[in-house]
């Protein structure tokens, strides 16, 4: 596994821009440029989170769109007041949408082949595609709570403190679950032929 893959550099929670509050204030006051910046910063993270939970690209697109429409409506209605909790709020909206959609459709999440995913293809070597596919299968075997922690951490790129806040659990519990989940995944992958 190459750690020099550029995709990996963006995997951990990205540094929040120092002017995030200013961007949010501008977006709430109708600044189109600020809104575009927010979309660029967060739309792929919301999409990846939805994709990991629902397993279908079209559904993930619908959910992503729905989440940003809700954000836009809240901005426009002046119900949103920036208090430094935008990411936690955004992904709580996403989690609620995903839960509602899952209940409505009663769908079972199905693994998505990364080679068949729409949009920009990631330049991933064949060996890594296999590893990614195996990882997706292994994740499906984890308990729901552990899947959620990993998806919020890696797909949504949330900090552990934000994950704890979103799931209403102590940070220590989230860290322990994260560690335990990685251990389970390692064992599952080692058994993969």
């Amino acid at each position: 596994m190459s750690a020099s893959n550029p995709a990996l550099h963006a995997a951990c929670p990205p540094e929040q821009p120092h002017n995030l509050s200013a961007i949010l204030r501008a977006a709430t006051s109708g600044d189109a440029q600020a809104w575009q910046t927010l979309v660029e910063m967060y739309s792929r993270r919301v999409f990846a989170f939805a994709l990991s939970r629902m397993g279908g690209a079209e559904l993930a697109q619908e959910i992503t769109q729905s989440v940003f429409v809700t954000v836009a409506e809240q901005f426009a209605s002046t119900n949103y007041h920036e208090q430094g909790k935008f990411e936690a709020w955004l992904f709580r909206i996403a989690a609620n949408r995903i839960r509602d959609e899952a209940r409505r459709q009663q769908r079972q999440a199905t693994p998505t082949d990364p080679s068949k995913m729409p949009g920009k293809a990631l330049a991933t070597p064949e060996s890594q595609i296999e590893a990614v596919s195996a990882m997706r299968d292994a994740m499906q075997q984890l308990p729901e709570q552990e899947q959620t922690v990993l998806q919020l951490r890696y797909h949504a790129q949330l900090a552990f403190a934000q994950i704890a806040k979103n799931l209403d659990k102590p940070v220590g519990t989230i860290l322990a679950q994260h560690h335990r989940s990685l251990r389970k995944l390692k064992e599952a992958l080692s058994q993969t032929p």
């Binding site: 995997a11 951990c12 109708g30 990846a48 697109q61 901005f75 860290l175």
Partner: protein
Amino acid sequence: MNDKHTAQSELPDDLHETQHTLELLAATARASMPQALAEHLAASPPDAHRASRVVLGRITPMLAIAALIAVLATSIVFWQPSAPINTNAQDALLAVMQEDDLFVDIFDDAFDSFYTELVATEQLFASWDATALWDDSSSLWQEVVQ
């Protein structure tokens, strides 16, 4: 709390490769979002929603007023009273007088009939000798006494 540092420092070395694979899976998912969706989302700033609400907020009262005027105009044009209404005091007085004339005619007829009967009765009594009824010798009295 340095989130990244905490996570890395608590992870044993043997889990780093698993973590990297997981990160690659997530990065693949993020990269798979269609660019068209990003462009669509970016082209729908919150101001558009606000603008539509402002426009609606301005149009709605105007539409309500226009609808009210239309309803009133329609009512005026198509309104036909079901019964004549006395629009002035003269008409009202005339109606009462007409009704009074009718009442007087009816009363006059009735009074004439009553008066005629009264006169006839008086004439009858005047011509009747009541003492004859109670004469001791009358057969009727005799019957009562007995």
